[in-house]
C-alpha cells in the first residue's frame, strides 16, 4: 500500500481543504469542514479502493492520516 496514493485518495474526500495540505500528520478531525459526511466518504473510499470494510467504531480512535493508513494496512496483512 502506497502512502502517497492513500493521502491522495483521502484528500479527494474533502472540498474546502486543499489537497496539498494533507500529509500523514494531518489531524483530520480538526479540519474546519470535518463532518459525518467526510467520515462516511472515507469509509466508502477505503472500501472501494482497498477492499477493506472498516466499521465506524474501528475508525473512531484514529486521528491522523497515518493512524488510519496503519489501520487499513493492518487489515490488508
Amino acid at each position: 500500500m502506497d502512502a502517497n496514493e492513500f493521502i491522495k485518495n483521502f484528500a479527494a474526500q474533502f472540498d474546502d481543504t486543499d489537497a496539498s495540505e494533507f500529509t500523514l500528520e494531518t489531524r483530520f478531525r480538526e479540519l474546519d469542514e470535518w463532518s459525518s459526511l467526510n467520515a462516511l466518504a472515507i469509509l466508502n473510499m477505503i472500501s472501494k479502493k482497498y477492499s477493506v470494510v472498516l466499521k465506524p467504531e474501528e475508525m473512531k480512535p484514529t486521528n491522523t492520516v497515518q493512524e488510519l493508513f496503519d489501520l487499513v494496512q493492518s487489515k490488508l496483512n
Binding site: 474526500q13 462516511l40 466518504a41 466508502n44 466499521k55 465506524p56
Partner: protein, 247 residues
Amino acid sequence: MNPFSLVGKTILVTGASSGIGRAIAICCSQMGANLVITGRNETRLLETFLLLEGTEHQQICANLTNSSELEKLIECLPKLDGIVNNAGIAKPLVLQLTEQKDVDEIMQINALVPINLTRLVLQNKKLNKGASLVFISSINGNNCAYIGSSIYAASKSALTGFMKAVALELAPRGIRANCINPGMIETNLLKSGSIGEDELEKDRLKYPLKRYGKPVEVANAAVYLLSDATQWVTGSNLLIDGGYTLQ
C-alpha cells in the same frame, strides 16, 4: 369477527428470511393466513417457516434479482389475496463514490423487483379480486433523507409512485395498493453499514418516542393493510416512525 383476521387469505411475503419480512410472515400466520414465503438464504428461510403458525404454508428460495428465478417463483405461486414486497437492501454510500454497479444493485432489488413482481403476478393472473398489495418503502426518500442514501431514497420513492398508479389501475378489480414507510427498525439492515453503535444510540434519541421501531410494529401495519379492515384504503403511505419526521 376480528376485522384484522387473515383467515382464508393466501399471502406472499418477500424477504421473509430476516428482520421485518420474518416478523410479517409470522404475524400474518398468527392472524390465520396461508403464507408463501421467499428469501435467498435457505437456512434462515427455513427458520422463519418453522416459526409460522398453522400448516398450509409454502417456502420458495429465490434470488429475485435473477429474472429466471423470479419467473420460476411466479410459476409456483397459488392465487394470492395479498403480497408484501419487503425484500430490500441498504448500502450507505456517498454519491461521490457511487458506481453504476451500486446504482444497479440497489435499484434492482428495492424498486425493479417489486415493480416486475407486481407486473408478473398480474399478467399471470395470480391475483384474486380484492387482493391487497403492500410495499415496504421507507421514510427515507418519502418523508426525509439521509446523507449516503441517495440511491436508496430514489428506490424507495420510486415505490411510492408505482404504488399510486397501480392503486388507480387496479381499483376496478377491488385490488388495493399501499406503502408502509418505516423509520429505523432494529434489524440486521442497521448493521450492514457505516453507522457505529454509539452513533445509532445517539440517533435513537432523535426519535420523539426515544427508540427505534421493532419488526413486529411494521408487521402489525402490514396485517392491517392486508386485512378487510382496510377495504377502502388504497394509494396511501402509512407512516410508522415513532414521530421522527414530525420535527
